[in-house]
C-alpha cells in the first residue's frame, strides 16, 4: 500500500480539482457508446457535462421532471427489463423523498430480482453549504445502510469515482453513490497512475499508516483527515488515516485486522453522529474484538445547521475543521498516556 499518495507525500501532484459527477458522467458516457443497455435518468438535475450525454444518447436519456418517486419507479421498471440504470438527483431529495420507493422497489425487490440501478446523489453532507438545511444531507449514510441488498459508495475523490464506473456495471445490485457537490482534489492513483490502494471489496484503504491513533473517515472528510494528519506528522505524531468508500458491503474481517493495530480510533463524517452512520460501522467492528479500542466520534450533533457560511466556515463552527480534529486527537493522546 506504499504506493499511496499520502504515504508518498505526493500531494503536489494531486491538486487538480474535479467534480465527482462530471467525472462519472463522462465515464458513463464512454460506456454508453459501446453498451446500448444503459439508461441515464435525471429528476430535472443537470450539469454541463450532461448536455453531451443528453444530446448523443437522446433515446436512453430521460428527464422525469421534479418527481423523485417516479425517478425511482421508472428506473426500477427499466432495470427489470435488463437495463443498467443511472438515476441522478440531488442527494437529500433522491434519498429521502423517494425513500420508500428505494426500500420497496430496489432494496426489497432485489431479494428476488436482479436490479442494477445506480442512484447518484449529488450533494453529500454540507456540499450545498449556503443552500441551507433542506439541501444539506446528513442522514443518507444511516438511512441507506438500513436497506438490505444495497451497495453504498461514499468516495473521497474523483479517481475513486472513475474506478467505480466499471464496478457499477459489473456488480448488478442497487447502489447509492454519495457524491460530493464540490470539485475536490485527487487522493488516489497519483502521478504514476498507480491505484493498487483501492480495494472495492475491502471497502476501505489505510491511506496513511500511523501508530496508536487512527482516523476513519469517508467522503469529503478524508481530505480534512489527511490535512490534520499531515499537520500532526510535522509535530512527529504519527496518526493513521483509513478512508472508507464502500460502506456496504465491506470486508469486516480486513477492517478489524487494520483496526487491531491501533489503540484509539476517531471517526469523522459529515453526518449526524451516533445515528447509524460511519461511527456505527466502527462501533460494530470494534465490538467483539479481542483488543479494547477506544472510540471517538466526530460529526454533527442532533440539530440541523441553519448557520450561513461556506463549508469551511461551518466546519469551523461545529469543530469539524482540522483544528477540531487535532484537538480530538490530542485528547486521545492524553487518554492513552
Amino acid at each position: 500500500m506504499n504506493d499511496n499518495p499520502a504515504v508518498n507525500g505526493n500531494h503536489a501532484m494531486n491538486l487538480e480539482q474535479k467534480s465527482m459527477r462530471d467525472v462519472f458522467i463522462d465515464a458513463i458516457y464512454e460506456r454508453m457508446k459501446g453498451n446500448d443497455k444503459i439508461f441515464f435518468v435525471s429528476a430535472d438535475f443537470g450539469s454541463p457535462k450532461l448536455d453531451r450525454l443528453r444530446r448523443d444518447f437522446s433515446d436512453r436519456f430521460l428527464n422525469v421532471g421534479i418527481a423523485e418517486q417516479n425517478l425511482l419507479n421508472v428506473s426500477t421498471g427499466l432495470a427489470l427489463e435488463g437495463f443498467t440504470v443511472y438515476a441522478y438527483a440531488i442527494a437529500p431529495f433522491l434519498t429521502m423523498r423517494a425513500y420508500e420507493q428505494i426500500r420497496n422497489n430496489l432494496s426489497l425487490m432485489s431479494h428476488v430480482r436482479e436490479l442494477n440501478v445506480n442512484l447518484i446523489g449529488v450533494g453529500a453532507g454540507l456540499s450545498y453549504d449556503v443552500a441551507g438545511p433542506t439541501h444539506h444531507c446528513l442522514e443518507d449514510i444511516s438511512i441507506l445502510r438500513n436497506l438490505p441488498n444495497m451497495v453504498l459508495f461514499s468516495p473521497s475523490d474523483w479517481y475513486l469515482v472513475q474506478e467505480f464506473a466499471d464496478y457499477s456495471l459489473q456488480v448488478k445490485a442497487p447502489k447509492y453513490l454519495r457524491f460530493d457537490g464540490k470539485p475536490l482534489r485527487r487522493i488516489y492513483g497519483n502521478g504514476s497512475g498507480i491505484n493498487s490502494g483501492i480495494n472495492m471489496k475491502d471497502g476501505f484503504t489505510e491511506i496513511k499508516k500511523g501508530s496508536g491513533i487512527c482516523i476513519v473517515s469517508t467522503g469529503f472528510m478524508t481530505h480534512r483527515a489527511l490535512e490534520a494528519a499531515a499537520r500532526l506528522a510535522r509535530q512527529n505524531l504519527d496518526v493513521g488515516v483509513i478512508d472508507f468508500y464502500v460502506l456496504k458491503p465491506f470486508n469486516e474481517e480486513s477492517f478489524r485486522k487494520v483496526l487491531g493495530n491501533y489503540a484509539c480510533v476517531i471517526t469523522i463524517e459529515e453526518a449526524f453522529i451516533n445515528k447509524g452512520g460511519l461511527d456505527s460501522i466502527v462501533a460494530c467492528a470494534v465490538n467483539g474484538m479481542d483488543t479494547h479500542i477506544k472510540r471517538k466520534h466526530m460529526g454533527f450533533g442532533d440539530s440541523y445547521v441553519f448557520d450561513m457560511g461556506s463549508r469551511d466556515a461551518l466546519h469551523r463552527l461545529y469543530g469539524l475543521d482540522e483544528d477540531g480534529i487535532i484537538k480530538n486527537i490530542l485528547e486521545c493522546v492524553k487518554d492513552l498516556a
Binding site: 439508461f39 433515446d59 436512453r60 430521460l62 422525469v64 421532471g65 418527481a67 418517486q69 417516479n70 425511482l72 419507479n73 421508472v74 428506473s75 426500477t76 421498471g77 427499466l78 432495470a79 427489470l80 427489463e81 435488463g82 437495463f83 420508500e100 420507493q101 420497496n104 422497489n105 426489497l108 425487490m109 431479494h111 428476488v112 430480482r113
Partner: protein, 306 residues
C-alpha cells in the same frame, strides 16, 4: 406458452368458459379467506372477473413454465392486497400446485396475506400502494427501446389513485406516449375507511387521465363479455375498441364514457365494480375492506353462489 389465437366463432364458448372459471375463482378465493383470515376478501372479490378474463380469456401472453419469458405481457398487480383471487388462477395455470391454496399464510408457505414477488407469476413488489404504475412506465419504455411489442397491464385500486406517486407516473406516461401501457382500475368505489366519494371524490376518473393525455375507457367490471371485448381490443393494440356502450353499470357514479385523445397514448380502463362482489353483507358495507368473513359465514355464502 399458454397464449393461443381465438377465432370469432369460438367466442360464445369462450365467454361461457371464462364465466364458469370466474365462478370457481370466486369460490376458491373465499376458501382461501376461510383459512387465512389475514387476507383482504372484499378487495379480492371485486377484481375476480378482471383477472379471469385476462387469464382465461387468453388475452395475457404468459408462460407458467418460464416466468421470465421475454415474450410475456407484463402484469403488475399494484393493488396486491386485493389480488388474492389471483392465487387460484395462478395455481390453475400451473404456476404452482393447487395444494398451496390450503397453506396460505401458514408457516413455510410462499403465499401470504399480501403477495410478494417470491410468488411465481407476480412481477413486482406490490404490498405498498402507488408503485405499480410508475414501475409499469419504466417497463413499458424499456420494452419500446428493446423493440419488444408486448404490453404492460397494471391493475390498481381506485383509492390507490390518491397517492401522488401515481400522478407522477400518469404525467410521465402521457408525455412519453406509452401506448403499450394499459392501466385497469378496479373502481369498486371504496378504500379502507369508507366510500371514496366521501374521502376524496375523484370521479370522473377517466376525464382526469384524459387531461394528462391518456385514452380512457369505462366499462362494467363484472361483465365478462364487456371486459373481454375491451381488453382483447387493447391487447391487440386497438385503443378504442370494446367500449361498453350498453352501460351495464350498477354503482357507476362517473360521467365519462370514453376519451380518445389520439394515437400513441396510454390507456386507462375504469372498470366499475362492486367491493365484496358476490357477498351481500360486504357489498353494502362501506368498510367491507376490513371485514373478515368467519368460516361459518363463508360456508353459508358458498351455497348461495352460482
Amino acid at each position: 406458452m399458454v397464449w393461443i389465437k381465438v377465432e370469432k366463432n369460438d367466442k360464445r364458448l369462450l365467454i361461457d368458459s371464462i364465466t364458469k372459471k370466474a365462478r370457481w375463482v370466486r369460490k376458491e378465493t373465499l376458501k382461501v379467506h376461510k383459512i387465512a383470515q389475514g387476507t383482504r376478501i372484499a378487495s379480492s372479490l371485486s377484481c375476480v372477473e378482471i383477472f379471469s378474463v385476462l387469464y382465461y380469456g387468453k388475452l395475457l401472453r404468459h408462460n407458467p413454465k418460464d416466468t421470465k419469458w421475454d415474450g410475456r405481457d407484463r402484469l403488475i398487480v399494484s393493488k396486491g392486497h386485493g389480488s388474492i383471487c389471483l392465487y387460484p388462477i395462478l395455481a390453475d395455470m400451473g404456476y404452482f400446485n393447487l395444494d398451496e391454496l390450503a397453506r396460505v399464510c401458514r408457516e413455510g408457505s410462499f403465499l401470504g396475506a399480501i403477495p410478494d414477488p417470491i410468488i411465481p407469476g407476480y412481477e413486482t413488489v406490490n404490498g405498498s400502494l402507488g408503485h405499480g404504475i410508475g414501475v409499469g412506465c419504466g417497463i413499458a419504455l424499456a420494452l419500446k427501446r428493446k423493440g419488444n411489442e408486448r404490453k404492460v397491464f397494471v391493475i390498481m385500486g381506485d383509492g390507490e389513485l390518491y397517492e401522488g406517486a401515481v400522478w407522477e407516473a400518469v404525467m410521465f406516461a402521457g408525455q412519453h406516449k406509452l401506448d403499450n401501457l394499459i392501466v385497469i382500475i378496479d373502481n369498486n368505489k371504496a378504500c379502507m375507511l369508507g366510500f371514496c366519494r366521501d374521502i376524496i371524490d375523484i370521479e370522473p376518473i377517466g376525464e382526469k387521465f384524459a387531461q394528462f393525455r391518456w385514452n380512457a375507457l369505462r366499462i362494467y367490471g363484472h361483465n365478462v363479455e364487456t371486459l373481454y371485448d375491451t381488453l382483447k381490443g387493447l391487447a391487440e393494440g386497438k385503443q378504442d375498441s370494446g367500449q361498453d356502450s350498453s352501460q351495464d353499470v350498477k354503482q357507476d357514479m362517473g360521467r365519462d364514457v370514453g376519451y380518445d385523445v389520439g394515437p400513441n397514448c396510454p390507456t386507462v380502463v375504469v372498470a366499475d365494480t362492486i367491493k365484496g362482489k358476490g357477498v351481500p353483507a360486504l357489498e353494502s358495507d362501506p368498510i367491507s375492506h376490513i371485514r373478515n368473513l368467519s368460516p361459518d359465514e363463508i360456508d353459508k355464502i358458498m351455497v348461495t353462489l352460482p
